[in-house]
Amino acid sequence: MRAVQRLLLPAALTLFAAPRGAAEPVKLLRPDQYRSRIVAAKKGRILLVNFWATWCVPCREEMPKLAAAARAFSSKDLAVVLVATDTPKTSREVPTFLSETKVPFVCWQVRSADPQLFIDAVDRSWDGTLPYTLVYDRKGDVAVRLAGAQTEASITDAIRIAIGATR
């Protein structure tokens, strides 16, 4: 447990301090940590969380669109966090993919013996479809759910809706 805390505390502190353009090390995330480590840590910004997996081709194809959409917003207004749902068998491919594709977002790696526990901890209305994107308003409430692969325009629209929801 202490080892996990040692791993996660600095991760939480640097969650939104990552410079754009540089992939951060992937950190582990248990279902019970989702709200506190990801949502509650956003500090009044719009938060976009993208759930993906290395084996999910639409997820990989969506990543550049997500990066392009996020570039249109200031990091003061928008935080973007990735959550990889790979199992231990494929999780080693996560940092490789992020590095090779130069994805500029912090990425967490799910650690759950049962994927449904994590899915339900995130959003009980999520049926497990990947990719899946949640956009939270500044209060930490879900403003938009995006199931399936998105376009740059649909991601941009979702962020704008979330911004508008808390004005």
């Binding site: 994927p115 995006l146 399936g148």
Partner: protein, 197 residues
Amino acid sequence: MSPTRSVVVAAALAAALLAAPARAAELKIGGTAPDFTLPAANDGQPVTLQRLLTTNKGVAVLFIATKCPVSNAYNERMAALAKEYAAKGIAFVGINSNKTEPAAETAEHAKKHGFSFVVVKDPGNKVADAYGAQKTPEVFLLNAAGQLIYHGRIDENQDDAKAVRSPDFKNALDAFLAGKPVPVAETKAFGCTIKRV
């Protein structure tokens, strides 16, 4: 709800709906599964659900894929379950609804992995739409009346069959055959999105 809030909610809903993948009528637990007749991947012969229902105690409909790593992680488990439960009166039928995986590839995949059950192609993903299937692998277990008694995943551990702690599909099969209620009738399938037209 204030007018402003209503507009925001409506806009969010519209965006979510526009962005969501096709989600047709979803088959609910207790609901009657739509009948289908689909061509077997290996020889094109028609396979009809109703015929399987009338000659078995139940039918397990599995949406599967040839290229999906998650579906492929379950190949051995699906083959073993089909063999075990065929002897107990449950017919298995695999449905490949992916537009990206042609019949010949589907047939070769089934042969390679020793599937003893029939695998059919679903042109235009019409059956996937009718069932509300979204992922591979995704299971729909029907009783002889065609009613859905279990929907969801095979189990929780795609990596390691020997370490499974929640064999939900097997539990459903056993409960059904024992004449008992299925303990967990619905789970969330986790896998690749069906590649629709």
